[in-house]
């Protein structure tokens, strides 16, 4: 295992759960601590950056369907000036987690993963379920199809570094 540290900043609690599953159950992404913080809409504070360990790789994971480009760029600048941060990786969910899951699982509808009653129920079911990893295996989740799309609309000029966090 690398001597570097990875700190994930993810958009919401469903992404938090998803990253924990990929990290610990599937072991298919770099291990690192996860904080719910949307770097595309919220500004980093100095208190957050102070708690980072030296030689940290900061991973910013967010949906592309709603971003504030000014805030995102400011955050990337702040992180690049932070002495504890060695590297910044931006991972784009195009356009959101549900769309990403549709692409990397063998399903027609997002409800099929957890037998949810509706699209709206899926997020609630996702957070409540204690067997998401099992369910993802059942629908043949493929890590190689996750986080690989570019978004040339709101995220023009930002490369999707999803492959850099996969192991």
């Amino acid at each position: 295992m690398s001597n570097k540290y990875v700190q994930y900043y993810v958009e919401g609690s469903d992404e938090e759960k998803f990253v924990q599953i990929l990290k610990t159950s599937f072991k298919c992404i770099l291990p690192g601590k996860v904080q719910v913080f949307n770097a595309a809409t919220q500004r980093f504070t100095r208190a957050q950056l102070l708690s980072l360990k030296p030689k940290t790789t900061a991973v910013l994971l967010f949906d592309t369907d709603f971003i504030n480009r000014i805030i995102l760029d400011d955050n990337i600048t702040k992180l690049s000036k932070c002495r504890s941060v060695d590297e910044i990786l931006v991972v784009l969910q195009v356009k959101n987690l549900e769309d990403e899951l549709l692409r990397c699982c063998e399903i027609n509808r997002i409800e099929d993963i957890l037998n949810s009653k509706s699209k709206g129920d899926f997020k609630r079911d996702f957070l409540k379920a204690n067997n998401v990893d099992q369910k993802l295996r059942q629908v043949k989740f493929n890590i190689n199809k996750l986080w690989i799309m570019e978004d040339t609309d709101t995220c023009a000029g930002i490369r999707n570094e999803g492959r850099r966090i996969k192991v």
Partner: protein
């Protein structure tokens, strides 16, 4: 309120103890904003003081001594300091340089003559207060020169002397004592929000934390199937919360007070012994970000993860106790005096015991041999 220099002799375990809280030059790109008196750019002071050291090296006692001094100065009651004298057959003394309101530097020196009768009284006490107005371009060092040069007239009456000092404000929080009643802030709207966030971070099973409307200064913590009431003045003895979560209540008090600038001087002593390192670092980060101008924070910890926080080296102080014959002596070392470059790793320095403060573990390993002996 800011303290700049403290000398202590023959109180608690302190003998010829000295610590200074100024630093030589401005740190570019520091994560501590305004580490100087507001309006006085050259009057630099250590705003954040992280105190580390092995057990029984004086981290808590230093806090007790400062509290005794503040109480003595503020309440003009000599009993606050007489009780902490170590050897009554010797003279005891302390000296403190401090700024209270922001424009005057005070030096309070106090000597207590050896005890000859049964009790100490006013006749044992010699108190002198010197002061100087801080000019815009002054540093701490230039102000000290002015104080030494001034030759102020002193009253023989210690109360009259102490009345020269402006009002003091402080908050000391020491480690949790078993069965100590809780002291919660009254009518503090921010406190309940801070309490909620801290407790829910410490225990994800906590669903909500709210004010109890029918009872004064009481709060209800709701878990899945249970509720816990905490109230000002009551002992916090529930077994339903972990030690860390209970500690979180007192952490919330300090954090809320600091955010609101209620006290200006904060001594947060090992409040995080039961709390996960990440949470301790996060809380300290918020404290550093939220502390106001002309305020000062002392934070004692054993957590070496704190050493990796990107703070000026002068923010870290190490205490150690050394034995000389029959006597113990407490010393203070500033990391800033040893590590001058930004790139020097403080954690590596501590792990390699550069400051010679690591405890000895010889007697621990000696325990193994007890079994073989028998």
């Amino acid at each position: 309120m800011v303290i700049m220099d403290v000398k202590i002799d023959n109180f608690y375990g302190f003998r010829d103890f000295h610590v200074n809280f100024s630093y030589p030059k401005k740190i570019v790109g520091s994560n501590i904003s305004e580490e100087n008196l507001k309006g006085f750019p050259n009057f630099r002071y250590k705003k954040i003081n992280i105190i580390m050291g092995a057990n029984a090296t004086g981290k808590t006692t230093f806090g007790h001594m400062l509290r005794d001094i503040f109480n003595f100065i503020d309440k003009k009651n000599y009993n606050f300091i007489f009780d902490s004298i170590n050897d009554v057959s010797r003279e005891a003394s302390f000296s403190i340089d401090m700024i209270c309101g922001g424009e005057m530097l005070y030096r309070v020196t106090c000597k207590i003559l050896p005890l000859e009768k049964e009790f100490y009284d006013e006749k044992n006490l010699i108190v002198q207060v010197d002061s100087t107005k801080i000019a815009t371009k002054d540093s701490y060092e230039t102000c000290v020169k002015k104080i030494v040069k001034n030759k102020e007239i002193h009253s023989k009456n210690y109360i009259e002397e102490l009345e020269k000092v402006e009002n003091l404000y402080w908050l000391f929080e020491h480690p949790l004592e078993v069965n100590r009643p809780l002291r919660l802030p009254k009518g503090d709207e921010l406190f309940i929000k801070v309490l909620r966030n801290i407790l829910m971070s410490l225990d994800p099973a906590i669903k909500s934390v709210d004010r109890l409307h029918d009872v004064d200064d009481a709060y209800v913590i709701r878990l899945d199937k249970k509720t816990i009431i905490i109230q000002d003045g009551e002992v916090f003895a529930t077994n339903l919360l972990s030690s860390g979560t209970k500690a979180g209540v007192e952490v919330s008090k300090v954090l809320s007070a600091l955010i609101q600038g209620s006290n200006s001087f904060y001594y947060c002593d090992e409040k995080f012994s039961y709390i996960h390192s990440d949470i301790e670092k996060a809380v300290l980060g918020v404290m550093i970000e939220m502390i106001k101008p002309n305020e000062q924070l002392f934070f004692t910890t054993h957590n070496t993860d704190i050493l990796e926080m990107d703070l000026p080296k002068h923010s870290f102080v190490f205490m150690k106790k050394e034995r000389y014959g029959d006597e113990n002596s407490i010393h203070c070392l500033s990391a800033g005096d040893f590590l001058k470059r930004n790139t020097d790793s403080l954690r590596k320095a501590v792990e390699n015991d550069l400051f010679s403060v690591a405890p000895s573990t010889d007697k621990i390993f000696e325990i193994e041999s007890f079994v073989y002996r028998s």
